[in-house]
């Protein structure tokens, strides 16, 4: 799924365009705890979150997240936007809540990119 399709599906407002419009979003993930994201997200996922601080962008960069969608119409502070712009990570704000967003994306064919927790699994 491309960024343009994602924006349409979530009825989103684009806050930061990002570097690569052609990047393929391969799955989805929703969390407010960044450690949960770091623990089990696979590369090239869209991250749905209610957390708006710059750490979201850092987490996204470290974990190869393709785009960030803020739920419930949240608008992040300017530091978050600046960092995302600098790192080239798309930021989108959607009026829908986390459950609704996950449902919409799942229905549109986007699989879950949240690995189930297995104490023995590695990061790969």
């Amino acid at each position: 799924m491309k960024i343009v399709e994602l924006v349409k599906l979530v009825n989103g407002t684009v806050l930061v365009q990002g570097d690569r419009q052609d990047r393929d979003i391969k799955g989805g993930f929703g969390a407010d705890l960044m450690s949960d994201v770091l623990a089990s997200i696979q590369p090239d996922a869209v991250l749905l979150t209610g957390l708006c601080n710059p750490q979201v962008v850092r987490t996204a960069q470290v974990a190869d997240v393709a785009a960030i969608v803020f739920v419930r119409g949240k608008n992040p502070p300017i530091e978050t936007i600046r960092l995302a712009d600098q790192e080239g990570i798309p930021l989108i704000s959607s009026p829908y809540g986390m459950f609704e967003l996950a449902g919409r994306l799942y229905k549109a064919g986007l699989p879950s990119f949240e690995k189930s927790v297995d104490p023995d699994c590695s990061c790969e």
Binding site: M34, D36, P54, T59
Partner: protein, 334 residues
């Protein structure tokens, strides 16, 4: 569940307005002089419109400045020629059809100034003058597009060059054991810059030509360690990364307060973080667990007297190594 479409009207928020893309940034950075056309095909007021039509057609231009003794006297565009054609008046001089009130722009202005004029007016080109108001070039929307594309390609190319040079580092430098050490000082409570060190480490690894999976594992492990230094220390701490062709060693250390019970700290979900930290999305008690998952070897030593020392290692398989490790092995065995 009503998922019907809601109005698609886009409200421009403050964030939208402040959101500056890379291209916009370049429009502020690039100067007019860097993108303008310097070879100016100029006209004189006494030339007749028919001759100008031929010039425009043969040179494939759609406008040109009109000069008198080297001074800018006006500008003539293809629109003016169309007016003359309509009036069957091609024998008339340029002075009759040119616009003599010419808006100019300085060569030292940023490109964004020209863009603003193009957006506000219906001008297709602007004469460019230097600080002495002497004509030095002409700028069109096409020049700007070309200039921006070139600049973007340049930025991209620079990163490629850095990556190429860095990826040869370990092959170019001969020693019995080569390593690259990166050090970062992490301040306690500095959430604003939290993650900067890990971002820089990940970028460095990618520039060195690391497998993206490896860079990601290091990034995640170091990010958690960096946040731990920000959240849990008295005076912050240090991150030290040693990159060798066959392994990456990561170390995070501080001078206190230390972890009273390491076994408990390693338990998934156990956390001593404050409510404030949890609100920031951290302190879920998964940090050390995440770190362990990402590395091949993890050593955690801590005392309430001397502080905490976390040592991590990621071993690189032969195909992921930064240089031909087998060669190095032979060298040292000699």
């Amino acid at each position: 569940m009503d998922t019907g479409s809601s109005p698609k009207e886009r409200v421009v928020t403050d964030q939208d307005a402040q959101n500056i893309t890379r291209v916009e940034e370049l429009a502020y950075e690039l100067k007019i002089s860097q993108v303008m056309t310097r070879e100016i095909r100029s006209l004189t007021p006494d030339m007749n419109m028919g001759d100008v039509l031929d010039i425009f057609r043969s040179q494939r231009v759609s406008g040109a400045p009109v000069l008198v003794n080297g001074e800018l006297a006006g500008i003539l565009s293809i629109e003016d020629i169309i007016r003359a054609l309509r009036a069957v008046d091609l024998a008339s001089p340029v002075s009759k059809y040119m616009s003599s009130q010419v808006m100019t722009i300085h060569d030292y202005d940023p490109v964004i100034e020209a863009l603003k004029v193009f957006v506000k007016s219906n001008y297709g080109r602007l004469p460019v003058v230097d600080e002495n108001n002497k004509l030095v070039g002409i700028i069109t929307k096409g020049d700007i597009t070309r200039g921006l594309l070139n600049a973007l390609q340049h930025v991209y190319h620079e990163e490629e060059v850095i990556r190429y040079r860095a990826s040869h580092l370990f092959e170019d430098i001969i020693s019995d054991r080569t390593s690259l050490i990166l050090r970062y000082r992490i301040k306690h409570g500095d959430f604003t810059h939290g993650g900067n060190a890990s971002a820089n480490i990940k970028r460095a690894l990618l520039r060195l030509g690391a497998n993206p999976q490896i860079a990601r594992r290091c990034g995640i492990a170091i990010y958690e360690a960096e946040m731990n230094l920000i959240i849990h220390t008295n005076n912050g701490g240090t991150i030290r990364v040693e990159i060798e062709p066959h392994q990456i060693s990561l170390e995070a250390y501080d001078d206190g307060p230390g972890i009273p019970n390491i076994q408990l700290a390693m338990q998934p979900g156990y956390s001593t973080a404050s409510e404030e930290v949890r609100e920031k999305g951290f302190g879920a008690g998964m940090g050390l667990v995440n770190i362990k998952r990402c590395v091949d070897d993890m050593r955690l030593e801590s005392s309430t007297i001397s502080g905490t020392n976390l040592r991590l290692k990621i071993f690189l398989r032969e195909k992921d190594a930064f240089a031909d490790v087998s060669q190095q092995g032979k060298e040292t065995k000699k």
